[in-house]
Amino acid sequence: MTRSRSLAIALVAALVAATAPAATAATITMSGSTSIAPLATKLAKAFVKQPQYKGKVKFVILQGGSDIGITDVSRGRVTLGMSSRDPKAADPGGIVFNKIARDAVCVVSNPSNKIPSLSQTQVQDIFSGRVRSWSQVPGATASGPIDLVVRTAASGTQDAFQNIFMGQTLRVAGSATTKSSNGLQAQTIKSDPNAIGYASFHFTAGLHSIPYQGVPCTLRNAKSGQYAGSRNFYLVSRGTATGVAKAFINFARSNPTALSLIASNWVPLR
């Protein structure tokens, strides 16, 4: 998304100008997942406030989707790629996935349709189009056909949903409405009482998060590991990370400030 990219550039340029006037500062450039970008921006702001790095490190954070981050880092265009999907066999060689956090992917519906719970089979039936009417879903208060609202192919959340909920063989029905951004998707689900979709926990405000396998989609349940629908956030480096990039990854993994930042909307590793 060019717009979100340039927005991110502007944001980060402002951040850099405010925090790192030193010309000798080392620069960490990042690109990739739009789901990780809000977290990465927060972490970067905290990192440059650390006494030993103050004025010595600058960040430039671009977005574009997980695959863009992975391609960019494998070609050496950025220091770190942001990936919200697990490594694939087809990924370019020589890159290392460094896990920094976990994220809950919630199945969401219109707030008026408070479905008590869905099992994995039910989610697969609904999204693959085997079940097409709300009357066939126990506990649903909506009536009439089910409207699937999903994301376009290049979305990391789409990829995560496919891997966690649908598995390798099933696919989302072709009749589904596909939206190009989290905001459009949420807006569509909000305005359509028959809609169901999925979203990263960070984007579920104003929607009904449906408990999955009886476990509500909350940060607490994702942290404890009870909620099954969670995915990993990675910072991808070319070879093993070195220097400030390595320090930044360690900071995100173990620094108390970073861990509490992550815990605000995501799931820290410890």
């Binding site: 998304m1 060019t2 739009t34 574009g64 989707g65 695959d67 863009i68 391609t71 960019d72 087809a90 990924d91 370019p92 189009g129 097409r132 009417s133 009536s143 009439g144 056909p145 409207d147 699937l148 609202v149 376009t152 192919a153 290049a154 979305s155 696919r171 072709g174 009749s175 589904a176 409405t177 596909t178 939206k179 190009s180 459009l184 807006q187 569509t188 305005s191 359509d192 028959n194 809609a195």
Partner: protein, 347 residues
């Protein structure tokens, strides 16, 4: 006459940049130098256009080459095909290119043609009213407002569409029965052909009105006065003489509007493009409520995946088709205007 010829007649000219105080050669900005600089700028525009066409086509070629003419045909689900292309293996020999883009092409055609047809009728009558019938006081408000409307960014229309019109259409115009009748093929949630056409019409009508108004004003006064002197009423004078004379301008307005409609991406992606689906006219009224995704919207919605080589090449193929259709459009507009030129005014 050649430029050199003109230059030779200008007094006091000493060659490019020559330091002379004589008129016609004012220091650095001598005529010869200005001519060369402006010529270079004009050539640069040409070079940019040619370069762009070459670039887009060279990028798009693998997608066309892999699919052949079937690229333009129908078959399968475009969204799933795009997903497969996006998930191609890393090895260039195994890249997936399979694509049948017909739903996107048909969607582009339906929305553009619908909006331009409705727009021509609207703008023609609005322009006739402004030029011939509206009281001057009303005109002083109406014309600036029309020109202002032409400048509203499309994303504003898109926001109004997705927050107000799409939910309204989904709730009030699409009944349960209609939803269920096509539920196995496509979802009717309000983002639809009819909303796309409606908002696109609102977007293109102001510029069409402005062009047609200018053309109607340019009709020679003596022609209409002559007809009026023969006792013909105002409406017939306007319809048989002014509108007939202004036909090239109406064609020009339609061409310009079509070009804008073809390239409209953001707004249509927000209000119509919820699925890469080819709306089927056989479905009757339901056809209007089916979603569709024009080429430009498909391009902008998938731009996230540009870095995946085969996916990027597919997006460039969309761009190439848009580029060629707008070139054909200018050509068609030019040809259509030829037989009308003898009626007089030019746009």
């Amino acid at each position: 006459m050649s430029p050199e010829g003109i230059a030779a007649r200008l007094p006091g000219r000493r060659g490019p940049g020559g330091a002379s105080a004589a008129p016609g050669s004012t220091g650095f900005w001598s005529d010869a130098r200005v001519e060369r600089i402006l010529g270079a700028v004009a050539c640069l525009v040409l070079a940019v256009i040619v370069g762009m066409i070459v670039f887009v086509f060279s990028k798009a070629w693998p997608s066309f080459a892999a699919n052949g003419l079937a690229w333009f045909g129908s078959g399968g689900d475009v969204d799933l095909q795009l997903e497969d292309i996006f998930n191609s293996p890393a090895n260039p020999a195994d890249y997936v290119y399979h694509l049948r883009a017909w739903p996107l092409l048909w969607g582009t055609f339906v929305v553009t043609a619908g909006a331009v047809l409705v727009g021509i009728v609207f703008s023609l009558f609005a322009a006739i009213f402004i030029v011939e019938f509206a009281p001057p006081r009303l005109n002083r408000v109406l014309e600036p407002v029309v020109r202002l409307l032409a400048a509203v960014p499309s994303v504003v229309y898109g926001l109004i569409g997705i927050l107000v019109i799409v939910p309204w259409v989904g709730e009030h115009l699409i009944g349960l029965e209609r939803r269920e009748s096509v539920a196995n093929v496509v979802q009717l949630d309000g983002s639809s052909v009819v909303v796309g056409i409606l908002i696109l019409t609102v977007m293109i009508v102001p510029i069409m009105i402005a062009i047609v108004v200018d053309a109607l004003r340019a009709v020679p006064r003596s022609w209409t006065e002559g007809a009026a002197a023969l006792g013909v009423n105002r409406w017939r004078v306007t319809w048989t003489i002014a509108v007939r004379t202004a036909r090239p301008a109406i064609v020009a307005a339609a061409v310009l509007a079509t070009a804008r409609a073809l390239g409209e991406a953001i707004m249509l992606s927000m209000v119509a493009g919820s699925a890469s689906f080819a709306p089927n006219p056989i479905d009757g009224i339901t056809f209007l409520f089916e979603p569709t995704r024009p080429l430009a919207s498909a391009l902008v919605e998938n731009v996230e995946g540009l870095s995946v080589t085969p996916f990027g090449e597919t997006l460039f193929a969309f761009a190439a088709v848009l580029l060629v259709s707008s070139m054909f459009l200018s050509l068609a507009g030019f040809v259509a205007k030829q037989p009308m030129r003898r009626y007089g005014v030019r746009p």
